[in-house]
């Protein structure tokens, strides 16, 4: 099921992002898009722990992915939360038969047109720092090879997030993770500021911030921070 051609493209992009001017928010968004693309899933989402026992939504491949991630947080129930709690992947869960496991989440996901769900832990040694969620139609079932590839993607996300091949000090995990969570908040605040400044929607503001970041070769969070500092 997994397309080798798309995997090659992905590795090139990942290698690029890891080298220079790494933008964690852009990277995680692209990763969810790739994860959905290569696995044949229709939507993907990613959450990280805030280290206070809660997960925070970080990125999704499309609005449905975001809706389902937030829905899991809202109801404290779902595959991403299970995966985070147990550290074990959830593979090929059939939503039609998941009413016992996820009585609130399963009907909502079915309503949005999904039939299967998968979740993969983002693991750094003994720490589970988040989870990658995939939502698909019934024929998008993963075989053992697919599972390895998607878990590798989740591992890449972890490594990228930590920005180092090995986190030598336990303290670095906290520093990087909290920094990434803050970056996302800064971008949301900047979306609101730009929307007010230019009289556009927050979605349009996000696209504007992204294109400014690209054209000036700056990280998205730097562009966002500059908007807020000037405001």
């Amino acid at each position: 099921m997994i397309s080798t051609e798309r995997i090659s493209d992905l590795f090139v992009e990942v290698a690029d992002t890891l080298v220079d001017r790494f933008d964690v928010i852009d990277f995680l968004h692209n990763l969810t898009v790739h994860a959905a693309g290569i696995s044949g899933a229709d939507a993907a989402g990613l959450m990280l722990t805030d280290q206070m026992g809660r997960l925070q939504f970080m990125a999704a491949s499309n609005p449905n992915g975001e809706t389902l991630e937030l829905f899991q947080l809202q109801n404290s129930e779902g595959p991403c939360l299970d995966c985070f709690t147990t550290g074990q992947p959830v593979v090929n869960a059939d939503l039609a038969h998941a009413a016992d496991r996820w009585p609130i989440f399963a009907p909502r996901a079915i309503q949005l047109g999904y039939q299967s769900v998968h979740a993969f832990p983002m693991r750094l040694r003994e720490h589970i720092i988040g989870a990658l969620n995939l939502f698909g139609s019934a024929d998008a079932l993963f075989d053992a090879g697919d599972v390895r590839v998607v878990q590798a993607l989740a591992d890449i996300a972890t490594i990228a997030l930590m920005q180092e091949r090995t986190i030598r000090r336990a303290e670095e995990l906290t520093e990087q993770l909290q920094g990434a969570l803050t970056s996302r908040v800064v971008i949301e605040q900047a979306k609101g500021a730009v929307a007010a400044l230019d009289g556009i929607t927050t979605d349009e503001a996000f696209e504007l911030l992204r294109s400014r970041a690209r054209s000036s070769q700056k990280r998205l969070v730097e562009v966002a921070q500059a908007v807020l500092d000037e405001g």
């Binding site: 336990a170 909290q178 730009v194």
Partner: protein, 237 residues
């Protein structure tokens, strides 16, 4: 944790931050805790601040060192918008050549600095000192982050007084899954009212309390253009 620090609903401001420092020392087995308030100084090499509360005079003097030397973990945590956790200052001479010897002389061996912030809205730093080299357990990290969030909330409430509506029992931001709208509305309000990002959030909170609404609902109304808060110089800090 919240109840330990917030105590009686009438308590507010500095006494609450002092209690927070005392709780931090006790719960996290630290030798000192300090809350410093800082204002971003753009394109300036050093960072000034004021100490709002400390667990002891000794702890206070350690953080005063940092301001007089113009470098240190608290400064870096504030400027970098992320925690700066140093398990052993003996190994950090290169990073802070002035601060490390002075801090070691003052009996501090490990420091854990957590920025008080909500995205780009930065308030200061919660700085924990320990007299021996040590790391934080996962539980310690969680406790430190919660105390920092609480300190942020206490300081934020000083920006926009809400009269008799003491928001002591209302958490900083409402449920996690509805926070994005709050952050966006905060940025929008900053521009619309011409106030700081900090004050924009404080105004939203005050409005939420005054009208008995959830913060997320106020944010949604602001984003949809249904609510217009008025600039009001009287409540500016």
């Amino acid at each position: 944790m919240r109840a330990l620090v917030r105590g009686s609903p009438a308590a507010a401001g500095a006494p609450m931050l002092t209690r927070l420092c005392e709780v931090a020392v006790r719960e996290l087995r630290m030798s000192g805790a300090v809350v410093s308030l800082m204002t971003p100084v753009h394109r300036a090499p050093d960072q000034s601040g004021t100490i709002a509360a400390a667990s002891s005079d000794r702890a206070r003097s350690v953080d005063e060192l940092e301001f007089s030397l113009g470098e240190g973990p608290g400064t870096d945590a504030f400027l970098g918008s992320r925690p700066v956790l140093t398990a052993d200052l003996e190994k950090a001479f290169d990073r802070w050549p002035g601060y490390v010897p002075a801090a070691l002389d003052a009996g501090v061996r490990a420091t854990f600095a957590f920025p008080m912030l909500i995205g780009a809205a930065r308030f200061g730093v919660v700085h924990l000192h320990c007299s021996r080299a040590r790391t934080l357990t996962d539980h310690d990290t969680s406790t430190s982050l919660m105390l920092t969030e609480l300190a942020t909330e206490i300081v934020l409430d000083t920006y926009a007084p809400v009269g008799d509506h003491t928001p002591a029992d209302v958490p900083l931001l409402a449920p996690d899954y509805r926070r994005d709208g709050i952050y966006q509305a905060q940025g929008m309000l900053m521009v619309a009212l011409g106030v700081s990002l900090q004050e924009a959030l404080a105004r939203m909170r005050a409005h939420a309390f005054a009208t008995d609404q959830e913060l997320a609902a106020v944010a949604a109304d602001i984003l949809a253009g249904r609510t217009h808060l008025e600039p009001d110089p009287e409540v500016a800090p």
